[in-house]
Symmetry: C2
Subunit: 228 residues, 2 copies
């Protein structure tokens, strides 16, 4: 029984790793599509989201089968339950990357973002590409040190997100209404990607320690409708 459990658990863990890698690819692709008005990368992210969705569905099925047949307890059970929840977090991250790619595709051949906002978004995208790398490593090694750093670093992304609001409300802003909509929504999608990365990190801490550092992993604590 134990051998089968470990084999089946290995298969679902491999799928979860693959999902994290696909999400990393989607975030990188969406960032390129957005910053360079790259239509091919945008389309690849949009098309690739179906594979991420299919992986979530497959992981759900595998976890339910594992729970039914193997009755895992203690750490094994936490792994299965957290795998379910991580898959759902990654699925949502894929959606958000897709939304960013769709915004880039819509604006093509123009860039969705006006010149004055590019510096902030370059930083947000770089931050998230780095976070995506760390998620892949964290998951492969169940590394709670990386998880803690992801949780702690999220403030930097929130600060950058805050700057997008300051920018559009300042006299520096010269964009159209459509560009203002894009800056607000794309900023929101990027900030939500960061929130989901934090959720993922918390779920890895829960697997290893049995302790959920948040007790409310989905909560985003920012005030998205800012008062400036």
């Amino acid at each position: 029984m134990r051998v089968i459990f470990n084999e089946e658990m290995k298969a679902v863990a491999d799928d979860l790793d693959r999902m994290a890698q696909d999400v990393r690819k989607a975030i990188n692709g969406a960032g390129d599509a957005l910053m360079n008005a790259d239509i091919d990368k945008a389309q690849a992210v949009i098309d690739g989201d179906i594979e991420i969705d299919a992986l979530e569905s497959s992981i759900l099925d595998q976890c339910v089968r594992l729970l039914a047949k193997q009755n895992p307890v203690a750490t094994d059970l936490r792994v299965v339950v957290s795998t379910l929840r991580l898959a759902s977090t990654f699925e949502r991250m894929g959606d958000l990357a897709r939304h960013i790619a769709e915004a880039a595709r819509r604006a093509y051949p123009q860039n969705a973002l006006p010149e004055e906002s590019r510096e902030i978004f370059t930083q947000m995208v770089a931050f998230l590409c780095n976070t995506a790398d760390r998620i892949v490593d964290m998951l492969a090694d169940r590394d709670t040190k990386i998880a803690e750093n992801i949780i702690l670093d999220d403030d930097k992304l929130d600060q950058l997100h805050h700057q997008t609001f300051e920018l559009v409300l300042s006299d520096q802003w010269n964009g159209t209404k459509q560009q203002l909509i894009d800056v607000i929504l794309i900023g929101r999608f990027l900030e939500r990607l960061g929130d989901h990365a934090v959720s993922a990190a918390r779920r890895v801490v829960y697997i290893v320690s049995g302790f959920d550092p948040s007790k409310d992993p989905g909560r985003d604590e920012d005030t998205p409708v800012v008062d400036l």
Copy 2:
């Protein structure tokens, strides 16, 4: 064993019902706060979100305990897994209601929404209050007919959401940049509430039928950055 399972399952089902009722209250309160600049209702929604978060956490613990001790299979297992996932959906709906309440509180004593947008938002809020009622009923009776209607009706909300973009891009729009931000973000929060209602409906269908009508319950299919 079976008797204990049913008793413990009843307790967690009661908590899930309570969560759905709390979410309904939050949506109603956020709608009132938004449309009537009602600061007391806004504050009640913001404060009340902690209870919703605590219920999610408690449901997670109860489900993990049930899985460990009772090894449910077939429908019982689907109920436990779906309960976990429904709790996470409701937690997120509570966050979104809180964000709307925070926007209303920030704008107080003004209304966050300019006059020309009130008609659309009145309809969106009414739609979601009705959806929240249906979620409570659907859950109490595991009624797949209600679930199917929730899934089918979501298009109406998406159409209203689309109208918010049309409005701000039209000559009719006289709002400030801050009001444009609020319309875009609050519109997004309301539309996401609808998406989560659809996820909840799909999860109830899965409990009853073992069939997931979407195979990707978290996906939102709209194009949030619209091309007009």
